[in-house]
Symmetry: C2
Subunit: 126 residues, 2 copies
DNA sequence: CTTGACATTGACGTTGGCGTCAAGGCTTAC
DNA sequence: GTAAGCCTTGACGCCAACGTCAATGTCAAG
């Protein structure tokens, strides 16, 4: 398939696909007229990238998963590097959550000073 | 005082101060040679900005607080606009926390699939 | 033949909050 | 006079992940 079809099927823009290629995440063979040609394996790569980005991974974070799939593994998280990224991202997310909770309490305290009673009506912590 | 002293006392760069001025957050009168001249009130403005940024506010978020102080209020959160920003930011932070927690559980689930036992050793949620 | 839908590369724009030169002017101390 | 240390404006760089435009090529259908 060509880039437009891959984009539609993967739910991304053609620009994004060219960008992924530029970043070395995906490759395409070229047909005689210079058009990129993709197959079903490429679609799986792009879907893997998008599902990882959907949970907050960067393209660099996604790279080991893509490499894993391209190395012939049936799933992107079957490789040690991918698992390492999972663990690192989990730690990052935990740190972010802790930081946000700390900020929340600081802001809530300031709001309580500025407008007693306002904090109670905001709905509280999740 | 001139820009260098204000920068030192506020703990910011001179570049940051010029940027705040460009964004209309602070003003400076000019001495005969064209140098910016600041007073203690300006120092308070900059400290207000920094303390807000320290808890994740953008410069735009800080604007109502600065306007409040410049209007003669003794504290930046004494105005209705400031309180509104506090409430909005609290809601934003809450949404961010919820989103991060959702991502965390998705990533943890993927990690559990990829490497059973890994999740338990990461320390758990905050 | 031409229209239209596809494709190509290249390059600039976006967002926020500055960092980092560049090229020069002012002031004071030696 | 000259070195040091302050200041000025202007302008490009950075980070991610593309969006968007430009100018052009390809190909099947009418």
């Amino acid at each position: 398939m060509r880039i437009g079809e891959l984009a539609r099927r993967a739910g991304v823009s053609t620009r994004a696909l060219r960008y992924y290629e530029q970043q070395g995440l995906i490759e395409a063979r070229r047909s005689a007229n210079g058009y990129r040609e993709y197959d079903e394996a490429d679609l799986r790569l792009v879907m893997e990238i998008r599902s990882l980005m959907a949970v907050g991974f960067t393209l660099e974070d996604a790279r080991p998963f893509v490499d894993c799939l391209r190395s012939g593994q049936p799933s992107g998280h079957a490789c040690a590097d991918s698992v390492a990224v999972y663990r690192r991202k989990l730690a990052e997310i935990d740190a972010d959550i802790r930081s946000l909770i700390a900020r929340r309490s600081e802001v809530a305290a300031q709001l309580a000073l500025a407008c007693p009673g306002c904090v109670l009506s905001t709905g509280g912590e999740p």
